[in-house]
């Protein structure tokens, strides 16, 4: 078994259209196959392999819309899902915001499929995990982690003739090394398209180094400190900003991008001039997907340019209401950096808290995008251009708007793991920001 080819996907989309009787029909098809290996305590705990498909049909009679989904793609399943979708549409009320599907679409073809990843099977996963365990462990360390890889084919089509297909592969590896006394913990991870780029043993060594270095903590009081956020922590901040670019929510007065009386902050400088954040489906280092929501072709959009809000996201209805063109959302996140390594960024820093990773982030105040969360798995103090010691973990309460308004320097961007709030794939630098509000001490290690 393998993921659906373009020909197979097209045949399924056509089979849906042949059975459809609605005024308009939209199809979304996702075919996925892959496997994973999970490990803890220096041994494998669970593993899995699965192949599945999702066939989603949306039907519209006039402006009455219904939708249904199945994981069957034989004739009987296709007929049933079309019937369920059309039945739901027949029972739905008129939608005053209905916009008919696109008449045409020219989709980009992101370079995101790699045979190296598709061919990665249980034996390759077991070998990578064994290498990581070997690299990380000894009397002073215990490793837990996760390796998953899969191929996925996306197809979309509608009754007006639009059709798109693109395949992708993903491989994700994360690991946490802890010391047996419970005093040290370190983490490293990455999510890639190409398995050949993965160095699981290298990730294990980074995590082990952080775990051992974090065993002896010099307490640090809560307060406001300069920080260096490693790329995955910076990607959380960037993801939180870009996840809230909706023009509608801003104009409705319920977003951090709202201005009084139905206005928005479009054009305002909210972030430091160093900060530029964009999406670009064809970006070679971190390609995105071919289409965004509503079958809109994904396209390059700069959300923040040199700190200013340059674009807001418009869905098709809201664009029509406001006499503008739709602006599709992000299918990847690309943040510009500076030409230096993380080590060089540290060397140029007088004093700061170095944050490896965040945890359990939730919104505290959506009006200014204040979030709460914690640091985890490697929090260190930098003094005079070097890491001097580990510090305790913190709970923090701060807004990425405020944090990124204080960005002073950055490293080269890097691919990061798929953490909560990260828009995957993200290609983001480590950032040094002048201030970050650590609210209380977390005893957690």
């Amino acid at each position: 078994m393998a993921i659906l080819t373009e020909r197979e996907a097209r045949r399924i989309v056509e089979a849906v259209m042949e059975r459809a009787s609605a005024d308009d029909t939209i199809v979304s098809l996702v075919s996925r196959e892959g496997g994973n290996t999970r490990f803890a305590g220096n041994g494998v705990t669970t593993s899995g392999e699965v192949a599945n498909v999702e066939l989603n049909v949306t039907s519209a009679f006039g402006s009455r819309i219904g939708s249904a989904q199945t994981n069957g793609i034989d004739d009987e399943a296709i007929a049933a899902v079309v019937a369920r979708s059309e039945e739901a549409a027949g029972l739905a009320p008129e939608d005053p915001e209905y916009v008919p599907p696109l008449e045409s679409a020219d989709y980009p073809r992101p370079p995101a499929y790699f045979e190296s990843t598709a061919a990665h099977g249980p034996a390759e996963r077991a070998a990578a995990v064994a290498a990581a365990i070997g690299a990380a462990t000894g009397p002073d360390a215990t490793i837990a982690g996760f390796l998953e890889n899969y191929g996925v084919a996306y197809a979309t089509g509608n009754s007006r003739g639009v059709f798109g297909y693109f395949p992708m592969t993903w491989i994700e590896y994360t690991n946490t090394v802890r010391t047996p006394d419970g005093r040290g913990s370190g983490w490293a991870g990455v999510r890639l398209h190409d398995a050949d780029e993965l160095d699981a043993a290298g990730m294990a060594r980074i995590a082990a180094e952080k775990a051992l270095a974090s065993r002896t903590v010099v307490p640090l009081e809560p307060g406001e400190y300069p920080v260096i956020l490693e790329p995955v922590a910076a990607a959380v901040m960037a993801g939180a900003l870009v996840g809230q670019m909706s023009a509608r929510r801003a104009m409705e007065g319920r977003s951090y991008l709202s201005a009084p009386n139905g206005g928005t902050k479009l054009g305002e400088r909210l972030l430091a001039p160093l900060v530029t954040i964009a999406t670009d489906p064809l970006y070679g280092e971190a390609p995105g997907r071919a289409w965004a929501e509503e079958q809109l072709p994904a396209r390059p959009t700069t959300w923040y340019r040199e700190g200013r809000v340059e674009s807001l996201q418009f869905d098709r209805f809201w664009a029509g209401r406001n006499d503008t063109q739709p602006v599709p959302g992000s299918t990847n996140l690309v943040m510009g950096g500076e030409e230096r390594s993380l080590e060089e960024l540290i060397r140029g820093t007088e004093r700061a808290v170095l944050v490896t990773r965040f945890w359990y982030i939730r919104t505290l105040n959506p009006a200014d995008l204040t979030l709460t969360g914690l640091t985890r798995d490697g929090t260190f103090w930098i003094e005079g251009g070097r890491i001097t010691h580990a510090v305790n973990n913190f709970r923090w309460n701060d807004s990425p708007v405020r944090v990124f308004s204080g960005v002073e320097a950055m490293s080269r961007p890097a691919r990061v793991a798929d953490e909560d709030w990260v828009l995957s794939p993200s290609f983001v630098p480590a950032v040094r920001a002048s201030r970050f509000r650590f609210a209380s001490v977390s005893q957690a290690v």
Partner: protein, 524 residues
């Protein structure tokens, strides 16, 4: 069906906590009256193929999942979906290590192929040094069946009726002055068939219903907005649960409170205050600060790379004063309408009920069959508590949270009685923002509504307030619980854990409770 109906059955069973789980007598394997022959035969094909390939144990889950969502916003349907997924997963033990494989093609050749693939995978994993898996014994249930108690299958209610119901919720809010209103229904029906090489054949149907809603008020001139979100009206039940909730009055109250919140002051500065937490808020505090720390896999480091570990480790059994003496937490999977309730778990273990914290003392953990031996010396419990759950056929089962409940004070009073004992404090209503560290020490929670308590009386409303604390210190500061009449049950529909990530639905029952001298802070 009220959320409070839990108590009558709960209190009756609490006394039976120390008893072993019921074990049905083995039945002859040819009793198949209720089974669809295909499922049973396919299961046997998979289990035999696994055994022939070298598995010492195997189970198969064949399941069909129906998920329906309808989302509305103001006076329109924003989206709907009606999803069916069908498939099977085979889990095997070979050379002392787990393997798992799954497929959407439920057919004889495929179940055999997938079973062999799972064994091959386990044997490959076994080349990495490991401690062999040790399964606690469980009786065989060769003819078992369980269905979530319900009156009306929500999938048999028309889309039109559901839409009308939701638009009615929104209309109530808009008519009362909300600027925006959203509401949704999320229904799940899962038909699950489990069979194992130990002779169990178990068919179950789970039904879950959930109606989240939110109202928002905007002061456009000032550029401010406030919301009231309710994402806890859920149960293992049918459409009758939805109809029994008094959404019109809840939404009308929330709309008025949201307007009030828009203009409310916040705290001047961080402080220490006494708290009264209402059940519709406290349940999530229990979930995060008691439910998760007492997951044994987390305590043993199996979740170290994702959900985290736990401050609460097995060496603290019968020694850690987790909470004040008035506090006991029970775990169960038996309450008929709680979200995690089942007849049997995904190890084939019958639903259990036991104490995690007894009179403030940590006494047990949440376990699956392969974990029991790890703490049996301390707990003297040799059975699994039945906490194995896989989200669906495509994801391997592992240890998930049962319903974890705070036992009310049999002599406890009302919310007003708890408030009366406070000179300077806060009353917090409904779950809001919540976050806790990966070892479950440091938490910060907020509600949708917060009021001052002054001299034993409820005072003015505040906005953007959170409380922050250390789990053990916080629970040891609890000096008042409501009585049985104040007990309510709420739940989390999407509790995440594991890699690859899986969701679990779980309920928590509790009375209101009072806590002394907790850190509170302006949040935002």
């Amino acid at each position: 069906m009220k959320r409070r109906t839990f108590l009558q059955s709960s209190a009756a069973v609490l006394g039976a906590v120390a008893l072993p789980a019921p074990a049905a007598p083995p039945l002859p394997r040819d009793i198949r009256r209720w089974l669809e022959p295909d499922d049973r035969e396919l299961a046997d094909v998979a289990l035999n193929a696994a055994a022939r390939a070298g598995a010492s144990y195997a189970d198969i889950r064949i399941s069909r999942h129906f998920d329906q969502q309808i989302r509305t916003r103001e006076r329109r349907v924003e989206g709907m979906n009606d999803e069916i997924t069908y498939g099977f997963g085979v889990r095997v033990l070979a050379d002392g290590v787990w393997g798992f494989a799954a497929s959407r093609i439920v057919a004889e050749d495929e179940v055999a192929r997938v079973a062999r693939a799972a064994v091959s995978q386990a044997k490959g994993n076994a080349r990495i040094p490991h401690t062999p898996v040790d399964l606690a014994p469980v009786a065989a249930f060769p003819d078992a069946e369980w269905t979530t108690p319900h009156e009306k299958d929500p999938f048999e209610i028309s889309v039109a009726e559901k839409v009308e119901f939701l638009l009615g919720i929104n209309a109530t809010a808009l008519d009362r002055g909300a600027d925006f209103a959203t509401s949704s229904i999320v229904f799940q029906k899962q038909e699950r068939f489990f069979a194992s090489t130990e002779g169990s054949y178990i068919r179950q149907t789970f039904l879950r219903v959930f109606v989240p809603w939110e109202v928002t008020a905007v002061d456009s001139q000032a550029g401010r907005f406030a919301s009231w979100e309710d994402i806890q009206a859920n149960a293992g039940a049918g459409w009758e649960f939805v109809l029994a909730q008094d959404f019109p009055s809840q939404v009308a109250r929330a709309t008025e409170l949201t307007r009030e919140k828009l203009a409310a002051p916040t705290l001047d500065a961080p402080a220490r205050k006494d708290l009264v937490l209402l059940p519709n808020h406290l349940w999530l505090t229990i979930h995060e600060s008691v439910g998760h720390p007492t997951e044994l896999d987390r305590a043993l480091g199996y979740e170290a790379n994702y959900a985290g570990t736990s401050f609460c480790t097995p060496d603290k059994l019968n020694a850690l004063q987790y909470a004040s003496e008035i506090v006991s937490f029970e775990a169960e999977k038996q309450e008929p309408h709680s979200l995690a309730s089942v007849g049997w778990d995904d190890d084939g273990v019958p639903a259990d009920r036991w104490l995690l914290v007894d009179g403030g003392l940590l006494v047990d953990f949440q376990t699956t069959r392969d974990q029991v031996h790890m703490i049996a010396d301390q707990t003297r419990v040799t059975r699994s508590h039945g906490c194995s759950y896989g989200q669906n056929w495509s994801l391997v089962q592992f240890q998930r949270m049962p319903n974890v409940n705070l036992v009310p004070d049999p002599a406890g009073g009302s919310v007003e009685d708890l408030i009366a004992g406070i000179d300077d404090g806060l009353l917090i209503d409904t779950r809001g923002s919540y976050s806790i560290d990966q070892q479950r020490y440091n938490f910060q929670f907020a509600g949708q509504g917060t009021w001052e308590i002054k001299a034993g009386k409820r005072g003015r409303m505040l906005r953007d307030v959170a409380y922050q604390g250390n789990t053990v210190e916080f629970w040891n500061s609890c000096d008042g619980l409501g009585g049985p009449d104040t007990y309510e049950v709420y739940g989390s529909y999407y509790d995440g854990k594991g890699q690859p990530g899986q969701v679990n639905a779980v309920s928590h029952g509790c009375p209101p409770a009072r806590f002394r001298q907790v850190n509170v802070l302006p949040a935002g």
